[in-house]
């Protein structure tokens, strides 16, 4: 977790990547096998056309899958392992898209006096018309985005740019999806005589919209309520003690919208930023493992008392002061500098009864 390090492989990452690569290889092989069988018109596509269709459709399916992982993990935590290595899936998608680009360049844009890359940009520039729109340009735009995202996917760039900027850049994956969708809609779909491709595109878009709406609705609840101001300045009323379960976090939103996670551990309360220093993962949805807050996304850990990652790691997050007012938990909304030690608040014996774990969602 230092500012730069090479990919730290582990068994989970290896299995994840092996399954993803195997799925892609099978997809391409299956496509080429069935695509080469002459259809009812008795005309089989040539090898180059099959390759570009196989790689192109595979990249679109992968992109749809990548965009589904986030909301799926929000709706069902069992999908969180898919989130863990999602960046590798992104790089794989970019590689598959590169296969599509290479197939197109070496067939449609080859054999002319123009270099293929130049031909790619000048052969079709019909952007002023909807029918026959220059769909190639949309594909070029999507591929450029995928290249940028793949190139900046390493933790070096995450540390260099910071989680907020890095995440903002990587939200461009939605733009890439929209461009790919347009690329297909104005391209392959115009020639398709079978509804299969149209159905696949519609299912992809509908699934993504529904998943994001459902996850957004759930997230609006889980991201916490705004904390009202307490009678004493500058404190805000975070929650009642009983709302915080042992070993878990409770998320509350400060008046400025900043989310804070309050953890209950062995009869004490501690508050830290809800945003993981790695990728802004929701720490309040994590767990306490070996006494450390553990991010549900990538397993980054922070000590309760000072928000520092245990050595040798160096990540730090902001801590917050807490105070009890009877059964209420008050929170000072002014964040301490990341890594500041704050004494945990001891829960009085009268409020020690933990919430039943089995009632947890």
């Amino acid at each position: 977790m230092s500012s730069y390090k090479a990919v730290t492989w582990n068994r989970n990452k290896l299995i994840y990547d092996a399954v993803a690569i195997a799925a892609v290889v099978l997809y391409i092989q299956v496509y080429r096998h069935f695509g080469a069988m002459a259809g009812r018109d008795g005309i089989a596509p040539d090898d180059a056309t099959l390759s570009m269709k196989a790689f192109g459709s595979c990249a679109f399916v992968l992109l749809s899958g990548i965009l589904s992982i986030g909301p799926l993990a929000r709706l069902d935590r069992r999908f969180l392992p898919l989130l863990y290595n999602r960046r590798h899936l992104g790089v794989l998608t970019c590689t598959v898209a590169a296969g599509h680009v290479a197939s197109v360049l070496s067939w449609y844009f080859a054999y002319s006096d123009l270099p293929p890359l130049r031909a790619l940009l000048v052969a079709d520039t019909s952007v002023a018309q909807l029918a026959g729109f220059a769909f190639v340009i949309l594909g070029v735009g999507a591929f450029v985005i995928l290249l940028v995202l793949a190139a900046t996917s390493h933790d070096f760039w995450l540390a260099f740019l910071g989680p907020r900027v890095w995440k903002a850049i990587h939200m461009a994956v939605y733009g890439a999806y929209a461009l790919v969708f347009g690329h297909i809609a104005f391209g392959a779909l115009q020639d398709a005589r079978s509804p299969a491709l149209a159905i696949m595109c519609a299912l992809s878009a509908a699934t993504l919209v529904v998943l994001h709406l459902l996850a957004g609705r759930k997230g609006a609840v889980e991201d916490g309520q705004f904390a009202p101001t307490a009678a004493t300045t500058p404190w805000v009323v975070a929650c009642d003690i009983g709302e915080i379960r042992e070993g878990r976090g409770f998320v509350v939103k400060l008046p400025d919208g900043e989310p804070v996670a309050i953890f209950r551990h062995e009869g004490r309360l501690s508050a830290v930023s809800n945003l993981c220093a790695h990728q802004n993962g929701p720490l309040g949805e994590g767990r306490l493992v070996d006494g450390c807050i553990t991010c549900p996304w990538h397993g980054f850990q922070y000590r309760l008392e000072d928000g520092c990652s245990p050595p040798p790691f160096t990540e730090r997050i902001s801590t917050y002061r807490l105070m009890l007012d009877g059964g209420r938990v008050l929170l000072d909304p002014r964040p301490n500098p990341p890594g500041t030690r704050v004494s945990a608040v001891v829960i009085p014996q009268a409020h020690q009864t933990p919430v039943n774990e089995t009632s947890a969602p």
């Binding site: 068994r11 989970n12 596509p45 269709k53 392992p81 020639d191 306490l288």
Partner: protein, 256 residues
């Protein structure tokens, strides 16, 4: 790890609960099998956009190396009207092109109207014949060209079809038509490969027409934005051998 929740996943830890491991194995199997099914369905749905345009002879023939003899016409594009032999009747039109996305390299001024022998790879799809020259045409000195037959006017036609290059359309690419092929066809036309209009519905037995501007000259680049899609056009039509040429005002082409 005593506090490790049963379903809580920590990527760097190899400690995964049996329940989560089962779930992930099922998810992996679903993804792999699901991708294969999607792949097969999409692959089986591929069709040639021009499959119905070439009638019963929808599929391109296997390209063959051939030697042809005929009268070379140079306008609006190089094409050969065969002199007639055992394989082909006299007056059969064969379009000519060069290698790749290039025009046939022909000294039009010197060879136009001459009886020549040409060699190359013959692409054939339906009635559309395209010869990719492998060497320069050779003038047959011992055969005097007949007086050039005058084009036979066929009146004014209003037709619907797709403009594509005669080479990919003849089957060098499969599919060699359609919007996905638009950029490729455009590069072929820029390179000088003769364009053809593949008719949406055969007209008087014709599956394709050679297409020129209203003055009978080669089309300019303004036509490129109409390539690869259904267009309607109107123009004077004439027959040269068994090749039918339509002369259109490209400014009046209409996308459908």
């Amino acid at each position: 790890m005593s506090e490790h929740n049963d379903t809580f996943f920590i990527g760097w830890s190899n400690d995964i609960s049996a329940g989560l491991r089962r779930f992930l194995m099922r998810a992996a199997a679903f993804v792999v099998v699901g991708l294969c099914v999607v792949s097969a369905l999409l692959a089986l749905s591929i069709t040639d956009p021009a499959r119905s345009l070439f009638g019963a002879n929808a599929a391109p023939d296997i390209p063959l190396d051939v030697t042809l003899r005929g009268v070379l016409s140079s306008e609006p594009y190089p094409f050969l009207l065969t002199v007639g032999d055992a394989a082909r009747p006299a007056g059969h039109g064969v379009l000519l092109s060069g290698d790749g996305k290039h025009a046939a390299v022909i000294d039009r001024a010197a060879l136009g109207g001459q009886v020549v022998e040409v060699k190359g790879l013959l692409l054939k799809r339906g009635a559309l014949d395209m010869l990719v020259l492998s060497e320069s045409p050779r003038v047959l000195q011992n055969i005097q060209p007949a007086a050039p037959a005058a084009p036979v006017p066929m009146g004014r036609w209003r037709v619907v079809g797709e403009i594509c290059d005669g080479k990919c359309g003849a089957g060098i690419m499969s599919p060699g038509t359609g919007i996905a092929h638009k950029a490729c066809a455009s590069l072929c036309l820029i390179g000088g490969v003769p364009p053809v209009l593949v008719l949406t519905h055969p007209l008087e037995g014709r599956q394709f027409l050679m297409i020129a501007d209203s003055q009978g000259r080669a089309l300019d680049r303004g036509v490129l934005r109409f390539v690869g899609m259904r267009v309607a056009m109107e123009g004077e039509v004439e027959r040269r051998g068994d090749v039918v040429l339509i002369k259109v005002d490209t400014g009046k082409l209409r996308r459908l």
